[in-house]
Amino acid sequence: MSDLADLYQQVILDHNKRPRNRGRLPTANRVAHGDNPTCGDQCNVYLRLDGDRIAEISFDGSGCAISQASASLMTTQLKGRTAAEAAKLYESFHHIVTTGQAPDEISDLAAFAGVHAFPARIKCATLGWHAALNALKGDAAAATTETHND
């Protein structure tokens, strides 16, 4: 049960129950779709880019608590960041979910450290991020976790 309690942290349950920035963004100028064919999880990420900066961000889709909470938490972390900052943050996040080790300066995303004990769920946690990074690149094609392995 301790691994599970680590996986389903209160922060994750909270974001799953009450997702932040959920729904289509009418002012979006970038959209990308993420898709996890094995699970059937889906996630759209909507961005309004102001120059290189994410002025607004939202998501919608369906999936497990991990994928939905991760996308929700991600939107709160990416708002106001540049594409380069977002890519760097994803690197940290990826490190957290694959190793369980969180650097001190990253507190909120550390809630996902428990994912590393469930390798099959890593792609749930990264689904929204893949879509967001694709949206930033202007690549509207579906981000699928099967080809972006994790």
Binding site: L4, Y8, G40, D41, S62, G63, A65, R121
Partner: protein, 406 residues
């Protein structure tokens, strides 16, 4: 000789703890566990009789050939086929359906023809027909399933089953809904319009008593591993005149009578459809699985499965907010369910912590999931070794999950 009282002891993999709790294995619709008799058959073959089959003139090859062809006869008897030659060994249900789609459909379908399927087909009984339709110019039609109960719309079937339909492929038992389709009636309707019938028996063989001649089917595809046999072996039953008239779907050794530079002549079925060295050991072990199941009695297996599935349906229906698929009574050996507020994969992860092995997702039924407005379901599926007590463990685990997420 196996008996119900020690049936669990026949399956060594059941005797283990998962996360400190006794394993409750409820993922049998994906694959069952194997009885010791099947493991022994594999072991015996590799230790004593291992050689390639056919054309061999030494002792081991002759023994291997006898055992392999004996397994074919055993499987034929298991399905009450008219002759062993009506059984083609394949990797399983998927390959069997691809064989019919690649060979029979390619040779016989023309633009204007129709392939009739149902909305409840596993991707393995849908995608091969999409490929065949593309190759031949035939179209696809689908018999609707009715609501969450998942019974076929037989009135719509009568409208759809016109003379353009040359082939009707349908699942005997739905792997997602647990519905048992009236296979004999469907085969008879197909025959009436001159269509070939293909039964996907992945979920019914080894669960229900199955008699291909009583069903009146033209083809029946099955797997070994969903009823105690090894993975990587299954078969296609086909009426002999159909199999013998079909062109080969793969070329290679073992399937030819005469080979020249420009062309070759084929053997009759089943060799024609088994190019290359077959899966000898697993076929022999599949024969052992047939022996094991028949000793238990397939009518008794069917009654046991149905009892557990109905008990599970009734017990789980008391969980608040549960949406159960398939009929309450007369269902096959699985229950499939969803909660609007808790995703199947979260349920499966939690249940695993209680030692309960479930499956969550679309179950290779994506179009049906979309029709039902679901992204996936959680499925518990049963076999000969499962008990009423394990259903109580499942229910308790689900109750804990509901408390955690709500």
């Amino acid at each position: 000789m196996p008996s119900w009282s020690n049936v669990r002891a026949d399956f060594p993999a059941l005797n283990q703890n998962v996360g400190g709790k006794p394993l409750v294995y409820l993922d049998n619709a994906a694959t069952t566990q194997r009885p010791q008799a099947v493991i022994d058959a594999l072991d015996r073959f590799y230790r004593h009789d291992n050689a390639n089959v056919h054309r061999g003139l030494h002792a081991l090859s002759m023994r291997a050939t006898d055992a392999y062809e004996g397994a074919r006869a055993r499987v034929a008897k298991f399905l009450n086929a008219a002759a062993p030659e009506e059984i083609v060994f394949t990797r399983g249900t998927t390959e069997s359906i691809n064989l019919v789609a690649g060979s029979w459909a390619t040779a016989n379908l023309r633009p204007g023809d129709a392939i009739l399927l149902t909305e409840a087909e596993h991707h393995s009984n849908l995608v091969p027909w999409q490929l065949a339709a593309k190759r031949t110019g035939a179209s696809l039609r689908f018999v609707p399933v009715l609501g969450d109960e998942g019974r076929l719309d037989l009135a719509a079937l009568d409208r759809l089953l016109t003379k353009e339909v040359k082939l009707f492929a349908f699942t005997h038992v739905s792997n997602t809904l647990g519905t048992i389709n009236p296979a004999a009636e469907l085969c008879a309707k197909a025959r009436k319009v001159g269509a070939i019938s293909v039964v996907d028996a992945a979920q019914s063989v080894g669960h229900l008593p199955l008699d291909v001649r009583a069903l009146g089917c033209d083809f029946l595809a099955f797997s070994g591993h969903k009823r105690g046999g090894p993975t990587g072996i299954g078969g296609l039953y086909g009426r002999r005149e159909l199999l013998d008239a079909m062109p080969p779907w793969q070329g290679g050794g073992g399937m030819i009578n005469h080979v020249d530079w420009q062309e070759s002549r084929w053997k009759p079925s089943p060799e024609r459809h088994e190019a290359g060295t077959p899966n000898i050991a697993d076929a022999i072990a599949l024969g052992a699985a047939c022996d094991y199941l028949d000793a238990l009695g397939r009518d008794k297996i069917a009654a046991h499965d149905r009892e557990l599935a109905e008990l599970a349906y009734e017990r789980l229906s008391r969980l608040p907010g549960i949406r159960l698929l398939g009929p309450a009574r007369g269902r096959s050996s699985l229950v499939s369910f969803a909660f609007s507020d808790i995703h199947a994969h979260d349920i499966v992860t939690f249940a695993d912590e209680d030692g309960v092995a479930l499956r969550g997702g679309h179950h290779c039924n994506q179009p049906l999931m979309r029709k039902l407005g679901l992204t996936g379901t959680t499925r518990a599926s049963f076999y000969v070794y499962n008990t009423a007590q394990e259903i109580e463990v499942l229910a308790a685990s689900l109750e804990r999950i509901l408390r955690f997420f709500r």
